[in-house]
């Protein structure tokens, strides 16, 4: 699905600033994500990527700047409204973050708790999400019985269970072997095609960025250092930019 840039962005971050004491992590970071777009954000460890997404999903308060999701400034929303908006966001955590004490089915049903769905409806959605990641047979397993790749897939199934408009991927291929990483990248592409989502992908993985990105932003010292397509950025002669593609 090609991104449509002639409309308002589905996600907008403007002049985001966040400091921890004297450590200025984000110094005016700006981002716009358009409908149907796969936007990859790359940056070195400690460059503020995780802080940015934590601010975006409300796990951290920014010092300055605005965050808009689907045209709504999240700082102006009441907690209940923000929680409703959060159901339009899928989030794939780096470590999968599956709930240890729950089965795969319970993990997937968890985001539907506030949705007043019947058991049949919930189960149908669980099956649909598990089919999307090819793990229907794992429905009754506990997270400890799953391999790293399977955990990532189940986490992905949980992220898409409510059919969100935006999915945020935090290092989706980190810690996986190359073959499993490729499978996850393929799944991300399939999900974008089937669910018509927009994706914000934070990664160090150049292969992942090459395959999946429509556009990329390089984050250095808490600001947008460069922006463009993978081809444009990888052809750029700037040393700092080239460091990402070596």
């Amino acid at each position: 699905m090609e991104p449509s840039k002639n409309i308002e962005p589905i996600l907008r971050i403007k002049d985001l600033k966040k400091s921890f004491g004297d450590n200025h992590v984000l110094n005016g970071f700006t981002l716009e994500l358009f409908e149907g777009e796969n936007l990859v954000l790359m940056g070195k460890s400690g460059s503020g990527k995780s802080v940015m997404i934590r601010c975006l999903v409300g796990l951290m308060q920014p010092d300055e700047g605005s965050l808009e999701i689907m045209g709504k400034d999240i700082s102006k929303l009441a907690q209940k409204e923000f929680n409703e908006l959060r159901t339009q966001l899928g989030f794939l955590f780096q470590g999968s973050a599956l709930y240890d004490s729950m089965t795969v089915r319970e993990n997937l049903e968890f985001p539907m708790r506030q949705q007043n769905k019947t058991e049949e409806e919930s189960l149908k959605l669980v099956h649909e999400a598990l089919d999307s990641v090819g793990l229907r047979d794992a429905i009754d397993l506990m997270p400890e019985e799953l391999s790293g790749g399977m955990k990532r897939r189940i986490a992905l199934a949980r992220a898409i269970i409510l059919k969100p408009k935006i999915i945020i991927y935090d290092e989706p291929t980190t810690g996986l072997d190359p073959i499993t990483a490729k499978e996850i990248i393929q799944l991300m592409r399939n999900i974008q095609l089937n669910y018509k989502t927009s994706s914000l992908i934070i990664t160090h993985d150049v292969d992942c960025a090459r395959v999946i990105s429509n556009r990329m932003i390089l984050l250095i010292d808490g600001v947008n250092y460069a922006e463009g397509t993978f081809e444009e950025l990888s052809a750029n002669k700037d040393e700092k930019i080239q460091a990402f593609f070596k």
Binding site: R54, V57, G58, L59, N83, E84, R86, T87, L89, F91, F93, Q94, G95, A97, L98, Y99, D100, S101, F110, P111, R113, Q114, R158
Partner: protein
């Protein structure tokens, strides 16, 4: 040797933590009465805490009653007062030793368990995942655990007291030829309403403290896996300390209202 500023910093940290714990307790009461109510999770926590601690509390109570009676017997016999054994043991166990010892055992098992579980959920981003999915993790994880501990600890204490009295009766039966019926008749003659009410009331506070401190330490856990260990360990230390403070206040109030 610590400098004045180091002592000052320690005091500031201590009072900051007390303040944070009070805020955490305040948030518990606020969330307790707001919808949605997590009954299913509450029942699951009650079952987990009660069922998993039953054996430990039973064994502790049994040995407590057994040892207490064996140790007290020679002294009472010296004064020819062994017939006072059921009264003495039952009042001691029901009023003080039973609730305090069993609450301490539960601090070691339940409070540290909550601290470790929530701490591990915090560092593996499971709590963040709940929040991002639009669920209130405080309500789901913390309120249910504190409430479950508040409800279950008094039951465990009653169970532990009963087993302790059984242990004591067994010793009296084997060593003193006192029948179980006679022993328990004397126990029920000796125990009064003014023994049971304060003990039961304070056991609810013990349960609250066990749930509160364990949840506070686990929910605010930082520093990765090291932090999980610290959360679990400090949950036990702080809970134990808090239990003695609650016990002191409870005994003080009991003395005012029931004239010990």
């Amino acid at each position: 040797m610590m400098t004045t500023s180091q002592i000052g910093n320690k005091l500031v940290n201590f009072f900051t933590e007390i303040g944070e714990l009070s805020y955490f307790a305040g948030r518990f009461f606020k969330e307790l009465f707001t919808k949605p109510f997590e009954f299913k999770e509450l029942l699951r926590q009650c079952y987990n805490m009660g069922n998993r601690s039953l054996f430990l509390v039973g064994i502790t109570g049994f040995i407590l009653g057994l040892v207490f009676t064996l140790q007290s017997r020679p002294t009472l016999m010296e004064f020819g007062a062994q017939s006072w054994m059921p009264s003495m043991v039952s009042i001691s166990i029901v009023r003080e030793i039973g609730p305090v010892i069993i609450a301490l055992i539960c601090a070691g098992k339940i409070s540290s368990g909550i601290g470790a579980e929530l701490g591990s959920m915090r560092v593996t981003e499971q709590i963040d995942a709940m929040e991002v999915s639009g669920t209130n993790p405080f309500k789901y994880l913390v309120v249910t655990r504190i409430l479950a501990a508040t409800l279950i600890i008094p039951l465990l204490i009653i169970f532990g007291d009963a087993i302790a009295l059984f242990g004591s009766a067994l010793v009296e039966n084997l060593k003193g030829d006192v029948s179980f019926q006679l022993y328990f008749n004397k126990v029920f003659d000796a125990i009064k309403f003014s023994d049971i009410l304060p003990a039961t009331t304070k056991s609810f506070f013990f349960g609250f403290a066990i749930g509160l401190v364990g949840s506070f330490k686990g929910y605010n856990c930082t520093k990765g896996t090291v932090g999980v260990g610290e959360a679990s360990n400090s949950a036990v230390v702080y809970t134990s300390m808090l239990l003695f403070i609650i016990d002191f206040i409870a005994v003080f109030l009991t003395d005012i209202f029931f004239e010990l």
